[in-house]
């Protein structure tokens, strides 16, 4: 039982990170039909920004984190939209997909070439101590991840549902032309989702890097996890991505422990295929577009 609890909590912690990444992924999909194949690399890169700020700028860790957040909002949020998504959007989904694939290669190779191909240690926000809870060993890292994820997602939910700004964003996601008729500054709202995505991936990056170390290949698994989380939960709902992320983290952890560690990667995929075939709107998504 204690082992189960331990797996559950560490699964939830990983899942919370997946959820943050998946929320960002879903947001930009909703407002601009961009399937971002570079989302995993978007999570990998901000940690490099932070490390570079510490090494080159000689900044303390917290200041470097702020710099990392700001740079990632600008580069992965604003520049990504202006330089890559905007010019491509009118040409349809596929060329944009290819562009994000090329972008992921670009980010990966740049991190390797301009920083290092070795895994880099990354300072943790809290000292790593193992706590004992009902016989289960739980690290402060996991709790921190869960806490930050909870605050982030909660804050985002408040923003989306309780403010005029957030509702305008939702309107943009649901129906662009109607939103425009109602006087919503659609372009600014789309930009806002990219900025939020830049912020979310940077937060995920800072949370996950002390656990996985900073390496240029980190994005590969994370990107896949974000896709799966987004689809499992429901592509058209922010809460879908959250549910999807958490479910994915727990399924991944439990199946690796109880069924097969070798096929660890396979269970989330079975889950993905099952959801797409049986409930394509996702576990908590709304059925709005015809996909079947």
């Amino acid at each position: 039982m204690s082992a189960f609890l331990q797996l559950l909590i560490s699964g939830l912690a990983t899942g919370a990170i997946y959820a943050i990444v998946a929320v960002g992924f879903t947001l930009i999909w909703q407002t601009s039909q961009t399937i971002n194949f570079a989302q995993g690399e978007f999570v990998m890169i901000p940690a490099f920004f932070v490390l570079a700020a510490m090494k080159l700028g000689g900044l303390p860790f917290w200041a470097a984190c702020l710099v990392g957040l700001a740079v990632s909002v600008f580069v992965l949020g604003v520049m990504f939209k202006q330089a890559i998504v905007d010019p491509m959007l009118k040409h349809g989904v596929l060329p944009l997909v290819i562009s994000t694939i090329a972008l992921s290669l670009l980010l990966k190779e740049s991190a390797k070439e301009f920083y290092s191909s070795q895994a880099q240690p990354f300072p943790s926000l809290v000292p790593s101590v193992d706590l004992n809870l009902f016989g289960a060993v739980i690290s402060t890292q996991s709790l921190l991840v869960l806490g930050v994820a909870f605050v982030t997602v909660g804050g985002l939910n408040l923003l989306l549902n309780r403010t005029r700004f957030g509702r305008a964003m939702q309107a943009t996601a649901q129906n662009r032309s109607v939103a425009r008729i109602l006087g919503v500054p659609v372009e600014r709202m789309v930009l806002a989702t990219f900025v939020i995505n830049g912020l979310l991936v940077a937060i995920a990056s800072i949370l996950i890097s002390p656990i996985y170390l900073v390496k240029f290949t980190n994005g590969e698994t994370l990107g896949l996890a974000a896709f799966i989380a987004a689809i499992v939960g429901g592509f058209n709902q922010v809460r879908g991505a959250i549910v999807g992320g958490l479910v994915l983290g727990v399924v991944d952890n439990l199946s690796a422990a109880y069924i097969s560690a070798q096929y660890r990667g396979a269970f989330p995929l079975f889950l993905l295929i099952a959801v797409i075939l049986l409930k394509p709107e996702g576990l908590v998504g709304r059925r709005e577009e015809r996909t079947v």
């Binding site: 040409h91 596929l94 997909v97 090329a102 190779e109 070439e113 689809i231 990667g265 993905l272 295929i273």
Partner: protein, 335 residues
């Protein structure tokens, strides 16, 4: 003008074929290897172009079919199965698996299909990596022999290169014929307007399945050539990144253009080699080039030529119109 353009096109293709045939005279063995790789990958890209460009289904599973084909050939070899038979088996097996995958996968469309096929690629990769008794796991299978075709040994690089070219030509001919058959017309109808196609009595589901399975079979054939080319196969070469590269070949070349995958494969296989002088930066340069190409020419390289040809035709037509209308204006005066 139109016929002139067509002639130019044919002349370019003939020139390209001549260049390919003459390549061994000037290239070093490594260059021959890269070109052979191009020919082998082009087979898979032609298959994906059929699925994506003609039938309009995004598939990220092509790499796993290349893998299935490669492993089929490699695993049959120790039993003394002749290459020709193994080659056909690789195609048939991929066709069957493609058909079975297509059944559930084609219930969903667009990005959902992309993700189902993406999941399939990852699953196949896991099987190749974990089932050591069959596939050798991460160590892969080495010492794959190159075939002897009707007493003609393809062990040396140049004969194998011609062999790969020959296979590519064969596949191209089959696809060319297929696209001109009623089947091929139906594929295009599916992509352009599935509802209309359905109302015209085309069994959309069966044709989509067939396009998907046929494209997959070509992936398998490409894999069957890949195994003897590199003589060593291991799971990571058939992962998601190969699927993405194949997709890139089709889109960069120009999806839906018959010659698109050939050009795209050329870009994806040979461009990184050309850029090697840039050392570690070559993949960065490659990624930037693809980004630029997609920004300025989203319909691919052949799309660019298509646009150019259109422009020339429009110019020519308006010039003709002008000269004709000038004649029309003169007529009342003369009468």
């Amino acid at each position: 003008m139109k016929t002139l353009l067509k002639y130019a096109q044919v002349a370019l293709v003939v020139l390209a074929i001549a260049a390919l045939l003459a390549a061994p005279l000037v290239l070093k063995p490594y260059g021959i290897f890269v070109l052979s790789q191009w020919a082998v990958m082009a087979i898979a890209a032609v298959g994906l172009n059929l699925t994506l460009g003609y039938a309009g289904q995004i598939s990220l599973a092509q790499a796993s079919f290349v893998g299935i084909g490669a492993y089929t050939v490699a695993l049959l070899q120790p039993f003394g199965v002749p290459f020709a038979l193994a080659f056909v088996a690789a195609g048939l097996l991929s066709f069957a698996i493609g058909w079975v995958l297509g059944y559930p996968a084609l219930r969903v469309q667009h990005h959902y299909l992309a993700f189902v096929t993406l999941a399939f690629t990852t699953l196949v990769f896991l099987v190749m990596r974990n089932e050591e008794w069959l596939t050798g796991g991460i160590y892969g299978i080495s010492n794959i022999k190159r075939p002897i075709i009707l007493g003609w040994s393809t062990v040396k690089p140049v004969p194998f290169y011609y062999f790969a070219l020959g296979m590519l030509a064969l596949v191209t001919a089959i696809v060319w014929w297929l696209l001109r058959s009623p089947w091929g017309r139906a594929f295009t109808a599916l992509r352009e307007n599935p509802i209309r196609a359905l109302s015209l009595g085309i069994d959309t589901r069966r044709y989509t399945l067939f396009a998907f399975a046929f494209g997959s079979a070509l992936g398998g054939l490409s894999g069957a050539m890949h195994a003897p080319l590199v003589q060593f196969i291991e799971p990571t070469s058939f992962g998601l990144s190969l699927s993405l590269t194949l997709l890139l070949m089709v889109i960069v070349g120009g999806s839906g253009y018959f010659l698109g995958p050939f050009v795209g494969a050329l870009v994806a296989v040979i461009m990184p080699e050309w850029l090697r002088f840039a050392d570690g930066l070559y993949l960065i340069a490659y990624a930037l080039l693809v980004l630029l190409l997609m920004t300025f020419c989203p319909s691919g390289i052949l799309g660019l030529f298509g646009r150019l040809a259109n422009l020339i035709e429009t110019r020519a037509a308006s010039a003709r119109r002008q000269s004709l209308s000038a004649k029309l204006d003169q007529k009342p005066v003369s009468s």
